[in-house]
């Protein structure tokens, strides 16, 4: 957003207040900084990172570690929201993928093949959503609601209603192991982020997705195959949820179809919105989405380290989210600033 469409910009040189607060990165980064500031006061050891048994250890690492599944799902969600869609089925996809993975592990296949088939399941789920939205032209909320409602049933069907556990060094290493002292899932997430960034920002695909999100009909007239782009967006989301499912199931070494990835769609959507993504479509920010995830996860970890009872988690989360949303609303900011300007003059 530039200065021209921000009438409240109080021009004081290059870094005017209005200009900085109007930047897309300003509010999410401020929120994250505030949370970390509170942490630093409440728990002095929050930022200390040490190596215990050949592995990085500390609250900050914990925030990153626990945030990875949500981060993966949120990255896919950011792409879908950028294409003016929404994917409610991500939690159910996590459950399905987990059930498929567990089932395949019990058939003694080679781990890389299992990984490929598992991620393929996620891709299939994403393509199904894409098919409903792009080809059948169904509203995204409802189209993905179908898989959200039925998906857990399918996962339970594969698991036959049980929580099936497994032992697999390969998947444990991916999810809970470490590589050069860094927890491996952080590396997996970083790798996925980099791959997505290259695919979306170093090719025209990201621009295509944003143009379809901004105005699907106009993009179509400009020669972009809007349907294909939408399918691609949902497929990417399915792939990301699949990878998150691999991490979540590798973590508990089993598939718990009722609870795996429960409510992850809500956290992911919140992360995207806190990161400045608009549900009206037309733009997505991969980096800021990660900041949004860190805000949510940082908040959860802060509540734990501050010694508040865990049941405060949700209400604090809800309140902070509401405050961040209100701060992001330009209209509210303008009317508040307007009241102050009127008083002072």
């Amino acid at each position: 957003m530039d200065r021209a469409d921000n009438p409240q910009a109080i021009a004081v040189g290059r870094w005017s207040l209005g200009e900085i607060t109007g930047r897309s990165w300003f509010w999410p980064v401020t929120a994250l900084a505030l949370i970390f500031l509170v942490d630093a006061v409440v728990s002095p050891g929050f930022f200390s990172i040490r190596i215990v048994q050949g592995r990085l250890f500390g609250s900050l690492i914990d925030v990153l570690y626990r945030g990875t599944p949500t981060a993966l799902v949120a990255l896919g969600m950011a792409v879908v929201i950028g294409a003016k869609g929404i994917d409610l089925s991500v939690g159910a996809v996590v459950a399905i993928v987990g059930a498929v993975m567990t089932n395949l592990i019990h058939r003694d296949m080679s781990p890389p093949l299992i990984l490929a088939l598992t991620l393929g399941t996620g891709v299939l789920c994403g393509m199904w959503n894409g098919f409903l939205v792009a080809i059948l032209d169904i509203q995204p909320i409802i189209a993905t609601l179908i898989l959200m409602v039925a998906g857990r049933g399918v996962a339970l069907l594969i698991d036959e209603g049980l929580i099936v556990t497994f032992r697999s060094d390969f998947f444990s290493a991916i999810s809970t192991g470490e590589f050069l002292t860094v927890p491996s899932r952080i590396l997996v997430c970083a790798g996925a982020f980099l791959a997505l960034w290259v695919v979306l920002r170093r090719t025209a695909l990201g621009l295509f997705i944003e143009s379809v999100g901004a105005n699907s009909a106009a993009a179509d007239l400009a020669g972009i195959n809007a349907r294909l782009v939408k399918i691609a967006a949902y497929t990417l989301s399915g792939l990301c949820s699949g990878l998150a499912g691999v991490l979540i199931c590798g973590d508990i070494r089993g598939s718990d179809s009722n609870n795996a990835g429960l409510f992850i769609e809500l956290d992911a959507i919140l992360a995207v919105v806190i990161g400045g993504g608009s549900l009206a479509g037309g733009r997505f920010f991969l980096g800021l989405t990660i900041v949004g995830v860190l805000v949510i996860q940082g908040l959860t970890t802060s509540i734990l380290v501050s010694g508040l009872p865990a049941q405060y988690n949700m209400i604090v989360k809800g309140a902070v989210v509401l405050i961040v949303l209100l701060l992001q609303s330009r209209r509210l900011r303008q009317s508040v600033v307007g009241v102050f300007l009127r008083r002072s003059s």
Partner: protein
């Protein structure tokens, strides 16, 4: 004008078909017992879904429904331990629901934030509120709970129309009147049809938006009161995920998520169809409970595709 009733007709047909499947397969399915239970067991979710219908008709969405049901129950149970009469605490909580909904509506309209995301924050706040009040299931011991669950109309043949069901049918009638015979209802349809045109035609957008979400808050809080009286307890996880069942009920009831098209009355059948599927799965006995969710998912799919076909022809005809 008959186009307006096509989706409702489809919904009622599906309902009758599913009922017929049950009647043919099981001996006692076609009894007033089953019908009475169906109305009673799904009363609270249908009540909440009526409010959701108004929101969806206006082109919005309300995700705070399930948390509201849980929150109302938990606070009612807590007030019960302090000696409040359930009717008094229920009235207080319904007032709270109206206020909370109105606040959501105000934020949505004034701050221009999508309803999805504001009501998502509402979902977190209310569910968090549940956990603040209590972490355990708390019984409501007031004798009124027994009075409420015992009082009923006989349907003949052993079936009973419980007080939950009567409350549901009464507020359904009220919802139909508000939607189709008041200026407010016409404004809801106008905003859902085309917000910009509605504003140009002089529809008070802010007042109506606040009213819509306040109404949704009223209905979901009332759903919570009915649920608390029906189960005789408050449980912090009650109503978890019920916002989706309510939305599915609205969609199965023939209301378009794009807003502006649909009937409040259809939501009754949308809710009953889901209840009927669960009942069928229970009657069948060997099918496990997750089959119910798969069936509902498949039905949602079939229904939406059918709706698209119907509405597709409707749209082209209107364009000409």
């Amino acid at each position: 004008m008959r186009d307006r009733y096509l989706p409702l007709l489809a919904t009622v047909t599906v309902f009758v078909l599913v009922y017929a499947v049950g009647a043919v397969s099981f001996r006692h399915f076609l009894s007033t017992n089953v019908l009475g239970d169906l109305l009673t067991d799904n009363a609270f979710i249908i009540i909440a879904a009526i409010g959701e219908t108004f929101v969806i008709l206006s082109g919005g969405i309300d995700l705070s429904v399930g948390s509201m049901i849980g929150f109302v129950g938990v606070v009612m149970a807590h007030l019960d331990t302090l000696g409040w009469h359930p009717l008094a605490s229920g009235a207080l909580l319904i007032a709270f629901g109206v206020g909370f909904g109105a606040f959501q509506g105000l934020v949505i309209d004034f701050c221009e934030i999508q309803p999805f995301i504001i009501t998502l924050a509402g979902l977190f706040l209310l569910r968090g509120g549940c956990f603040m009040v209590s972490l355990d299931s708390v019984p409501i011991k007031h004798p009124f709970v027994d009075v409420f669950s015992d009082w009923h109309f006989g349907l003949g043949g052993g079936g009973r129309l419980s007080s939950s069901a009567i409350v549901m049918l009464a507020v359904l009638a009220a919802g139909v009147v508000v939607a189709h015979f008041t200026r407010f209802g016409a404004n809801v349809y106008a905003i859902g049809g085309d917000r910009a045109s509605a504003a140009l035609m002089g529809v008070p957008i802010r007042r109506t938006t606040v009213g819509i979400y306040a109404l949704a808050g009223f209905y979901s809080a009332l759903g919570g009161v009915v649920y608390a009286l029906y189960t005789g307890s408050g449980y912090p996880l009650a109503g978890l995920g019920d916002e989706l069942i309510a939305i599915a009920a609205v969609v199965l009831g023939g209301t378009l998520l794009t807003g502006g098209v649909g009937l409040v009355f259809g939501t009754l059948f949308g809710g009953l169809i889901q209840g009927l599927i669960t009942t069928l799965v229970n009657f069948q006995g060997t099918l496990t409970s997750w089959w119910a969710t798969i069936f509902v998912g498949v039905l949602l799919f079939v229904f939406i595709v059918a709706q698209r076909t119907i509405m597709g022809s409707f749209m082209t005809r209107r364009a000409v």
